[in-house]
C-alpha cells in the first residue's frame, strides 16, 4: 500500500515539475495505477488456475474414466477463479480510459 502511495506521489511530483495540466496529471496517475492494479490482480488467479489445472490433469491421469466429470468441474473452477483477474482487467480499463 505504501509502495503504491509512494509511486503515486512521486509521479505527481514529477508531473508538477514538468508543468503539466490537471488532466495530464490525472491521466499519468491513472495509467500508473492501472498497470499496478492489473499486475496485482493477475497474481492470485495465475497461481490458482495453475494449481487447479495441474490437479485436474493429475486426476485425469490417475483415473481416465472420470476424465469427463473432472474436465467439466475444471472449467467451472477456472471460470470462478478467472473472474477475479477479469475484474482486475475491468478496473484497468476504467482507470486508464474512464
Amino acid at each position: 500500500m505504501s509502495v503504491l502511495a509512494t509511486i503515486a506521489t512521486e509521479t505527481l511530483e514529477l508531473a508538477q515539475e514538468a508543468n503539466l495540466t490537471a488532466d495530464d496529471q490525472k491521466g499519468i496517475a491513472g495509467a500508473a495505477g492501472a498497470g499496478m492494479a492489473y499486475g496485482l490482480a493477475a497474481i492470485g488467479p495465475g497461481i490458482g488456475i495453475g494449481y487447479l489445472v495441474g490437479q485436474a490433469v493429475q486426476a485425469m491421469a490417475r483415473q481416465p474414466e472420470a476424465a469427463g466429470a473432472v474436465r467439466t468441474n475444471m472449467f467451472l473452477g477456472i471460470a470462478f477463479t478467472e473472474a477475479l483477474a477479469l475484474i482486475g482487467f475491468v478496473v484497468f480499463i476504467l482507470l486508464k480510459f474512464a
Binding site: 466429470a69 472449467f75 477456472i78 477479469l86 482487467f89 475491468v90 486508464k96
Partner: protein, 251 residues
C-alpha cells in the same frame, strides 16, 4: 525512444450508426452482428435435414445439440435437466456466433465486447434461475438462501447475508463481466498486434520486430477462436449449474 500512438479505446469498440442515427432505431455494427448471431443458428437448424443418417449440415446441428446435452446438461443437472436444452442451446449458439465475429475479416469485432449483450443474457439467466427456484420450492427457495436452516442459529445472519449477496448480485455480475471482459481483452490483444504489424512496416531496423508481431497475431487469432468457443461453453455451463442449484438447493 520510440513512441507508438495506440488508437484510443473509443476507436476500438464504438462504431458509426449504419442507419437511424440519433433515433431509437439506431443500428450499428454491434447490432448487425447480434442480429446475425441470432439468424445464423436459426438458419442452420432450418436448413439442416432431419434424416436418420446425418450428412453435411445435419452433422453440425446434431453435434451442437449433443455437445450441449453431454457436456453441459448431463454433468450438472442430470437427465431431468433435458427440458432446459432449448434455453441452453440458444444461449450457447448466440454467444458463440456473437464471439466468433471477432476473427472474421471485415467484422473483426465480437458483439459481446460491449456490455449490452452479456448484461442482457446475465439478467435473463438470473430471472430463469429465480423462476425455477420459486416454481419448484415456492417461498422456501428464498428462505433457504436468506435464513439457511442447516446452519447454526448464531451464524445464520452472516451466512444468509453472504449467500444472498453471492446468489442474487454476484452471480449475474460475474456472468456478465466474465464474458464481456474476456471478449474485450481478446479484441484489444488482436488490435494491439494488428496495429504493430501496420506501424512497424517501416524501412529501418525496427521492422525486424514485425515478423514476431505477425506470428503473435496468427497465434492469437487461433487462440481467440478457442476463447470464443470456451466462453460460450462456460456461460452455458454456469447457467446449467445455477439452474441446478435452484432445482436442488443446498443441503
Amino acid at each position: 525512444m520510440i513512441a507508438v500512438d495506440f488508437p484510443s479505446i473509443q476507436n476500438l469498440v464504438e462504431w458509426k450508426n449504419i442507419f437511424g442515427d440519433g433515433t431509437f432505431f439506431a443500428f450499428n455494427k454491434i447490432g448487425l452482428i447480434s442480429v446475425l448471431a441470432l439468424l445464423i443458428p436459426v438458419a442452420l437448424f432450418l436448413f439442416a435435414k432431419k434424416d436418420a443418417v446425418p450428412r453435411g449440415l445435419q452433422n453440425v446441428t446434431e453435434g451442437a445439440v449433443e455437445f450441449v446435452e453431454n457436456q453441459v446438461i448431463m454433468p450438472t443437472i442430470g437427465p431431468d435437466g433435458m427440458r432446459f436444452l432449448p434455453l441452453l442451446l440458444s444461449i450457447f449458439l448466440f454467444i458463440f456466433f456473437g464471439n466468433i465475429f471477432e476473427v472474421i475479416p471485415t467484422f473483426n469485432m465480437p458483439a459481446n465486447a460491449r456490455m449490452a449483450n452479456p448484461l442482457l443474457l446475465a439478467i435473463l439467466v438470473w430471472a430463469v434461475f429465480i423462476f425455477v427456484g420459486v416454481k419448484n420450492h415456492g417461498a422456501k427457495y428464498f428462505i433457504e438462501i436468506i435464513w439457511p436452516p442447516s446452519v447454526p442459529v448464531g451464524l445464520r445472519p452472516l451466512v444468509g447475508l453472504i449467500e444472498t449477496l453471492s446468489v442474487f448480485i454476484l452471480r449475474p455480475f460475474g456472468l456478465a463481466v466474465r464474458l464481456f471482459a474476456n471478449m474485450l481483452a481478446g479484441h484489444i490483444l488482436l488490435v494491439t498486434f494488428g496495429w504493430l504489424c501496420v506501424v512497424l512496416f517501416v524501412p529501418n531496423a525496427l521492422a525486424a520486430i514485425l515478423p514476431f508481431s505477425f506470428a503473435m497475431l496468427v497465434l492469437l487469432t487461433g487462440f481467440e477462436i478457442f476463447v470464443s468457443f470456451l466462453q460460450a461453453f462456460v456461460f452455458a455451463l454456469l447457467t446449467a449449474v445455477y439452474i441446478d442449484s435452484s432445482l436442488h438447493p443446498a443441503h
